[in-house]
């Protein structure tokens, strides 16, 4: 395949997306982990959690950007036949999806912000399942992707799965907000600290699964061994 300038441009953005996703998420993970340290005063722990959520806006953006960027690259490689209108719809959906997700994340302390986040979760589930289904149907020759690009089908399917692991992080981390709310009112108690630690430890599983899957996707994309 000839490397056109357009292809190089989208590939470059795709790699930068990877940087902002997993790379930036290291700071999120470490900040969130530190917020569970019960030896720290409450205001420090809240700031740690707040910073984790603020820095997380970068990986959150990149995770959403992976969809249109991936579509652009697939199209450039001739592995996805898609009209300009369909492409515009993919971009429109991605931007709306991102906006809903960001609204929910930025205003996480407001009721309406939580409603956005809740709706965003349904979208994540929908995207995840749809992409897994698209990868499977494409593998059987029903499209939308070319069946010959098996490595791409793996990428698409795994990106779908990543959406589900990201959703699992959101669900697993959900009790953290109320737990910190109780911490503010009741102070540090063994029960609340236990809840905070347990919540974090449960969330670690989908977090590491997500890291592993994203790195695996990058490995597949670079080696194209599948």
């Amino acid at each position: 395949m000839e490397m056109t300038e357009t292809f190089i441009f989208w590939k470059y953005l795709h790699i930068l997306m990877f940087v902002g996703w997993v790379g930036a998420d290291m700071s999120v993970f470490l900040s969130a982990k530190k917020s569970t340290d019960e030896s720290l005063p409450f205001d420090t722990r809240i700031m740690l959690l707040h910073m984790a959520l603020r820095i997380e806006l970068i990986p959150r953006t990149m995770w959403k950007a992976a969809l249109p960027l991936g579509v652009m690259l697939s199209r450039e490689m001739g592995l996805l036949q898609i009209t300009d209108t369909q492409l515009a719809l993919v971009w429109a959906f991605s931007i709306i999806w991102w906006a809903i997700s960001m609204t929910g994340a930025i205003w996480y302390d407001k009721d309406w912000g939580r409603k956005f986040a809740h709706f965003g979760n349904f979208l994540i589930f929908g995207v995840g399942v749809s992409l897994i289904v698209a990868a499977i149907t494409s593998a059987y020759g029903y499209g939308p992707f070319e069946a010959s690009g098996t490595w791409l089908l793996w990428k698409v399917g795994l990106y779908g799965l990543i959406n589900l692991t990201c959703l699992a992080i959101v669900v697993a981390y959900d009790p953290m907000g109320p737990a910190f709310g109780r911490l503010a009112v009741e102070g540090s108690t063994p029960e609340i600290e236990g809840l905070i630690k347990r919540t974090f430890n449960i969330a670690v599983l989908p977090i590491w699964s997500t890291y592993f899957l994203v790195v695996s996707v990058a490995f597949i994309a670079t080696t194209k061994f599948l």
Partner: protein, 252 residues
């Protein structure tokens, strides 16, 4: 702490062995995983875990310099910065080794002694980084950290000298983008050196805050120090992004 050192050492060993294996490289993909591709993935991962965490480190540094936050929060933020910055430090230490091995695949051959130096540089530099981080309070750790600025200066000089020589004998004629990447790497080393120098008052103010609480003078010192380092921090990001562009586009 000991566990972290063992994990870091094992990671370095795996990267080193993988890199050493890639001495016989092929750019051709045949449906299998080639050594070249494995090293390329490692190269990308180094970029990802260098620039990505650096964004978080910078955002945290602005919080640490914020006098409106409690001293404990700022000190904790400072501790977190030290943890986060281990990622970029590890990545920079391995980048020349991985990059050097990759250049073999694009036709830039090295004599055996040069290749041995390239392959050994990564583990040696990584060991220095690990010692400086996990043994910061020992004499050896202090020595490593105190000489880091000079080491970066030496490495930047070595890279520039090597590039200049290779350029003068026409060795890089077919791969000007590699030349560009190496020059950018040297610039990053120098920018990183400047960041360290400019952030010395920041670190001193943080240490003073931890010992005796914040003062107006220490707050001002922190803000000024961070402001002085900012252009170099942004310079590193720009240079990294530019180097990535050269790696992807490979303009001739």
């Amino acid at each position: 702490m000991r566990k972290s050192i063992i994990v870091s050492a094992l990671l370095g060993l795996v990267l080193w062995v993988t890199g050493a294996q890639a001495l016989t490289l092929s750019v051709q993909g045949d449906g299998n995983i080639t050594d070249y591709e494995v090293v390329l993935v490692l190269h990308q991962l180094l970029f990802v875990f260098w620039l990505g965490p650096d964004l978080g480190r910078y955002l945290w540094s602005t919080r640490v310099a914020d006098p409106q936050l409690s001293p404990t929060t700022r000190i904790t933020g400072g501790e977190l910065i030290k943890r986060i910055e281990l990622f970029p430090k590890v990545c920079i230490s391995l980048m020349l080794t991985i990059g050097g091995i990759l250049t073999e695949a694009v036709g830039i051959t090295h004599p055996w002694w040069q290749m041995a130096g390239i392959v050994l540089l990564g583990p040696v530099w990584l060991t220095m980084v690990v010692l400086g981080h996990f043994r910061a309070n020992t004499n050896l750790g202090r020595l490593v950290n105190d000489t880091d600025v000079w080491f970066r200066l030496f490495m930047a000089g070595a890279v520039l000298a090597s590039v200049s020589y290779s350029w003068s004998i026409g060795r890089l004629d077919n791969t000007p983008w590699v030349t560009g990447k190496l020059v950018l790497f040297a610039a990053i080393l120098l920018f990183g050196m400047m960041v360290q120098i400019r952030l010395r008052p920041f670190d001193a103010a943080l240490a003073s805050m931890a010992a005796s609480g914040p003062t107006e003078a220490s707050d001002v010192s922190m803000s000024r120090s961070l402001a002085g380092a900012r252009p170099y921090i942004f310079g590193i990001w720009f240079a990294l992004a530019a180097a990535a562009w050269l790696g992807v586009a490979q303009p001739t």
